[in-house]
Symmetry: none
Subunit: 230 residues, 4 copies
DNA sequence: ACTTAACCGAGACGGTACGTCGTGTCTTGCC
DNA sequence: GGCAAGACACGACGTACCGTCTCGGTTAAGT
């Protein structure tokens, strides 16, 4: 992501270095790195982005300010890294055999994360990202895309099962499903209830279902699948 | 919005004041107020939020810093006010007789605004709003809700014409239509093309249409309307 | 003292004006003037010069700031005026027939004034006067010189009585007597006790007494005076 | 003088610090310190105290404002320190064998300093000192007392030579000699000429000389001294 | 064991903007 | 036209962080 990203350097010690040698001098302190990332998340959760200060991070981590700047070029990079390292790993898509269930289950999970203290970090990133392209990019690459790749697979399964039109644009469909969540999360004009998620899924997926005749065929496909023909 | 909001004081001269009297002392300078709001918008458009400075606003407006602070408690309030006063007025909903056309036309217009320099201000507000509740509230009350009230009327017309289910939740429907726009605008993971808008409308509205039998009845209603029976 | 000095305008309303006519418009408020001078002295006594504020004066006097500036061009002029109006009138020289007694009695009185809350005002004037020539001039003209004129007379009497040399420089002598008082008052390196005054008088006046032969003649003069020959 | 006075820290490197250790962190910049003190003196000389600004000091010294505030708690402390470091060292007392000459020579020197641009600084200190006790204390401790200690020795020599009464109060005598100088310097009601100094010395010292008989004895003492009996 | 080199903490540095306060001027409506 | 009220342009205040720097001290690898 950034020239000197420490996040991607883990384990590179002798692999990513052509000559297989450790650089001379004292190696960087993993302890300091963790303390910094931890206090970053803590401060972000507690005070939000607006009064988030590198100085406070360093103090809380009992670390010199220079140590922070040595490894992260700016506030955004630090937050991005801290966020990336903290991303909830349990936002996977189930495979229930029903696209409605697959999606709504994962989306509910996402809303739960957004509502937890974690959510504060997400909103900080998206907020600060509006004036820091690298931050928003970090969010996309580290949070959004990994999940979206799983989502593509989930959609493909649904298409195969005949639950969705073959010609559906997955990006359009996924934005239609997740856009409302992000909108409510960021603008806070309405609540993000589980019920809302269900009705959202129902509404959007209804528009993505195959047309009449195709649907009849789809039913047959599902039947065969159920019988274990494959 | 805020205790002393000058934005809401317009026209209150004798209405909002119980005894109908001007307060004593020199009245505030409307000229200064406008200069401040103008330079706020200008700076926001030019430099974005991150290096937006009250000092620069005052300088550009040839105004004392104290005059800014006298009327706006903080950066957020100033931006909110400036934004409110600058809101593009041409985001109305047409009445074409087709909900698809009504919506997509207005949504394309919105995207055009978001893509213009104006959009920079919107993203600044939504970004900064993530750590300033009053700012996000200003966006809701001054930008979102006025348009949404028009949207409700547009949806009602469509229901009456039988294009939408009678039991549709307007908030759910509108969030499904606009959420994807806001998401792409803020996260910038994909482009906001007119074509995207059309397909978005098609997808979401498809899921909001009445069921079979009702649809047949709707056709008859539309025919009668066309004949001018009412 | 200053172009618009209100202090000298008292009673001028229709007397000092050539054509005998009152100027048009509302006459100035004597009440405001007094309130301003009073609050000036009060604030000076209470807080000293460093945080003496025109704004505070106006507030305390329940007077518009502009009213202060209308009549006094700046802080210094106001203080000077207030001081002049407050000058203790009881700093006169007695006529005891002995220069030592005349002087020490008045000097003790002066020290008493300096030690009272009044003294704070004097030190404020002399302090601020170091960077405001008009202030120090006001002190000289309104406080120092009036008293000095009395002192000259007192010295003349002493010369006539033969207590002082005929050729004594009155300015030198008076500065030698008062200089130490001002020095201790302003630098505060030592106490200003009545005893100090007495010993100061004794020391300085000893050096100002006529020489031997003259002194014998002086004794005869005094004797004649006592007998009432004049 | 003040808790963190940098002026008194010179040479403390290992003496003033109990454990003999340098404090951690980057050591303070002596270069910055000198630049600040130098620009303080310069500005004081040029513009006097009334428009003496910390901001201007920092600018002129090419130093951050915070660096000034880090080491000096307020304007007064800064001025006091700058003054102390700049005190003219050539105000020593000669030993001519005559108290009149010893004193008048040094007093003329003092007047010369007061009349030079340096004098502006002294008057600024004494002026501002009227509302800042620490400032006036700095003047006493750093300027007045060191010279006075020399003066005491000078007076003792004169007493030994029989030029002054044994019981003379040195503080009274010195205040009588210097008070008039300070008074004229601060109130500026009369000129500070070398002639004035001579006549002042003559007047005051005349009152401090031993009485008749003692004086005869003193003459004998002086004669012996001249013959080199000691 | 000793040198070398990069790390570490602490914290001072030159800056920039903050939000506040006082100055002296002005603009109202009332007297 | 004076007056109270109070807004105005201006500019210094003292503070908080920024990102950089300079210290003494630590931690390995290479000698």
């Amino acid at each position: 992501m950034r020239q000197n990203s420490p996040g991607t350097r883990d384990g590179d010690a002798d692999a990513g270095n052509g000559n297989g040698k450790r650089p001379p001098g004292r190696p960087r302190s993993e302890q300091a790195r963790h303390a910094i990332l931890r206090s970053t998340l803590k401060l972000l959760r507690e005070n939000g982005f607006s009064d988030f200060t590198i100085e406070a991070v360093a103090d809380r981590a009992a670390v010199g300010k220079a140590t922070v700047y040595r490894w992260w070029p700016n506030k955004g990079a630090l937050i991005a890294d801290a966020f990336a390292g903290s991303v909830t790993p349990d936002l996977h898509f189930p495979d229930t055999g029903s696209i409605d269930k697959d999606m709504s289950q994962q989306m509910r999970q996402l809303v739960k994360v957004f509502s937890a203290p974690q959510g504060r970090i997400v909103s900080a990133i998206l907020g600060a990202g509006q004036s820091d392209p690298e931050l928003i990019e970090a969010f996309r690459e580290r949070f959004l895309m990994p999940r979206r790749r799983e989502a593509y697979a989930t959609l493909r399964r649904a298409v195969r099962r005949g639950e969705l039109r073959r010609d559906i644009d997955p990006n359009l469909l996924l934005d239609s499903l997740y856009g409302p969540i992000y909108m409510r999360f960021l603008i806070r004009h309405d609540r993000l209830t589980p019920d809302f998620i269900d009705r959202l899924c129902a509404l959007v997926l209804a528009g993505a279902r195959p047309h009449h005749r195709s649907r009849a065929r789809a039913r047959r496909v599902r039947a065969r699948l159920a019988k274990g023909h494959f």
